[in-house]
């Protein structure tokens, strides 16, 4: 029997059940055997006493016939068919018998007539054909002319009844013991495995962002595992943080240099510049733009890839949206936009705050660039997901442009500042969270509605 590898609990329980069953069956067999031997020994000894009593009570009376000096004390010898019998025969003829035999005789096997005085055991049929256990010896009384054959027999049925009663009680007790032991095993396994349940609960909390590390003290067998897991989490955080920092430093350093190059190129490209200079300037500007796109693209990809492996952290959506709206109101202040946010309190995104800020920030920024006068952010919860939609009252986009809007580096309108990378980044981040980004015409304002579908935290 191979227990399923899947369940530790089942393995332990099956093991316990096998041992309990085996131990109790062996105990039962041994006890039954011991009891049977003991009872049989007692039975034989008692019957021997009866035989001795009978032998010592025999005498030959005046007429030369065998007779009892006194009656045997056991009352069962006097009650008819009581199960306890005696008989005395001489030369194969029954001369005396117990009252319990009534008008029957005990038929001894043919060869049961040794005359050496040894006690012999027999199994014989009783007056009602029931099996009897008999002891027999021959006896030569000093007064008597011939040897007497003395038999004492008792019904084996009584023994069998005693065995049956004992075995029944034994079986019941052992069964009860088996049940009790099994229950104990279940309790033991359940209690013993409980720390694994705690571990799972805590891991779920860490995954969902309610906790950063395993904190609950664990049994000494599990604690090293917890310590290792915590160290692993620390290490992962550290690696991600270091990677982000270094990538960030690289990007920031490069961008300042790009800014210098771009400014120089723009200066070269002024209307009064020479034709050659203007061409060089155009080349420089386009190269600067390409380099910036590369930096942004790979930074965004690195960011999306890094956040994928990390346990999620809860982010309050309302908080994040209001921070971004503050930014939009400043950055797009000259456009005099009415930015409306309808986000219910307590709505939580199952992920990193900076990632949500990147996704929503880009969508909001686009909306603010295209809007005529109003931008709206709305968030709702739909079972285990949250849907954040950003709507503007601009001219909207045709369905053909929707597709293009999502390919990396595409700019929808070269005259509006921005590289167009925003949407590619949003898409990468959304994908890394298993979410969805959908564009549709806004039913209210006729502009564009971008809807983000992301995992929510309960």
């Amino acid at each position: 029997m191979t227990p399923p590898v899947g369940s530790l609990r089942l393995r332990l329980l099956l093991g316990a059940a096998v041992w309990i069953l085996l131990a109790l069956v062996i105990a039962g067999l041994v006890l039954a055997e011991l009891f049977a031997r003991h009872v049989q020994d007692r039975f034989a000894v008692e019957l021997g006493h009866h035989l001795d009593q009978l032998a010592s009570s025999l005498r030959i009376d005046a007429e030369g016939k065998p007779d009892l000096v006194r009656r045997l004390p056991d009352p069962r010898f006097s009650r008819p068919l009581s199960g306890l019998y005696w008989q005395v025969s001489a030369n194969g003829r029954v001369v005396l018998r117990s009252r319990s035999l009534w008008d029957q005789t005990l038929a001894l096997p043919a060869d049961a007539s040794a005359e050496d005085g040894r006690v012999r055991q027999w199994r014989i049929a009783g007056p009602e054909r029931q099996p009897l256990y008999g002891l027999e010896r021959s006896l030569l009384l000093p007064e008597g002319p011939e040897s007497l054959q003395v038999v004492v027999a008792e019904d084996l049925g009584e023994l069998d009844a005693a065995f049956r009663a004992f075995n029944r009680t034994l079986a019941l007790s052992l069964a009860a013991l088996a049940v009790a032991l099994t229950v104990a095993a279940v309790v033991q396994v359940t209690l013993g495995l409980r720390p694994l349940g705690w571990l799972r609960d805590e891991l779920a909390e860490i995954r969902s962002g309610r906790k950063r590390r395993f904190q609950r003290p664990m049994p000494s067998e599990v604690q090293p595992l917890i310590d290792d897991l915590n160290a692993l989490l620390d290490h992962a955080d550290e690696v991600v943080e270091r990677g982000r920092l270094q990538a960030g430093n690289l990007a920031h350093g490069l961008k300042t240099n790009l800014a210098v190059l771009a400014n120089e190129a723009e200066r070269l490209a002024r209307p009064d510049a020479q034709r050659e200079d203007a061409e060089v300037a155009r080349l420089m500007l386009s190269q600067v733009a390409t380099m910036r796109r590369h930096i942004d693209h790979h930074m965004a990809r690195a960011r999306a890839a890094a956040s994928r492996g990390l346990p999620g952290r809860g982010t309050d959506v309302a908080d994040c949206v209001s921070a971004l709206v503050r930014v939009m109101q400043k950055v797009h202040a000259s456009r005099n936009l009415a930015i409306r946010a309808e986000v219910p309190a307590g709505l939580t995104f199952a992920g990193d705050r900076q990632d949500l800020e990147e996704m929503l920030g880009n969508l909001l920024d686009n909306a603010c660039k295209w809007a005529k006068g109003a931008v709206a952010v709305m968030a709702v919860r739909e079972s285990k997901q949250l849907i954040v939609s950003v709507e503007d009252d601009g001219v909207g986009l045709s369905s053909e442009v929707f597709e293009r809007a999502l390919s990396p580096g595409t700019r929808l309108d070269e005259s509006v500042p921005g590289t167009g990378l925003g949407l590619g980044l949003v898409r990468d981040l959304v994908t890394s969270y298993g979410g969805k980004l959908v564009f549709a015409p806004s039913s209210e304002s006729g502009g564009l509605r971008a809807s983000l579908r992301l995992p929510a935290l309960s």
């Binding site: 920031h252 300042t256 800014a259 210098v260 400014n263 503050r326 202040a333 929503l360 920030g361």
Partner: protein
Amino acid sequence: MRLLVVEDDPILLRQLRERLGTEGYAVDAAIDGTEAAFLGSNEPYDAIVLDLGLPRRDGLSVLRSWREEGLSIPVLILTARDHWHDKVLGIDAGADDYLAKPFHMEELLARLRALIRRARGHASSELRAGPVVLDTRTGTVTTDGQPLDLTGYEFRVLSYLMHHAGEVVSRTELTEHVYAQDFDRDSNTIEVFIGRLRKKLGGDLIKTVRGLGYRLEIPPDDAP
């Protein structure tokens, strides 16, 4: 209009100073956070361009300490940190605008103009006082539609007076906003610029308020 530009990259700083100077701004420069914090707190700038990754003291902490002091000068953050998270931090620290590197110089100029205008409560990019119109976008001045030829300092004086139209502006204030810090200032030259401006503009648009300074009159029909 006098600006403080905080930038630790020397070449970018030179480019910014040159271009902003051409646009008619008086420009002071700081190359680290400590210097920036000191200048911003002690000199009357009209706007500050602030980088974030600075030596000695981070730009965000400098900005926060200005706002804690109650300094309300408009601040534009010009930085390579272009994540939305950084923008939230910048705006919440008290910035009025945020521009990520690399940037178009024209966009920086436009945003600065808008910032200064908004700080004075002007909605339009054109400032108007009677027949005189100053277009902050192009940096041109016209009277009755005729373009006016002004020198750099004349433009700065007129621009400051028009941004503060109707208010009394002292000679010291004008000096502080027209010259950069390291310039050898002489408040008498302000009188020279005022005199030339009066001649070019005609009329009595610029009034002298005895003992206090100057005031640009707003004719009643186009008061804001």
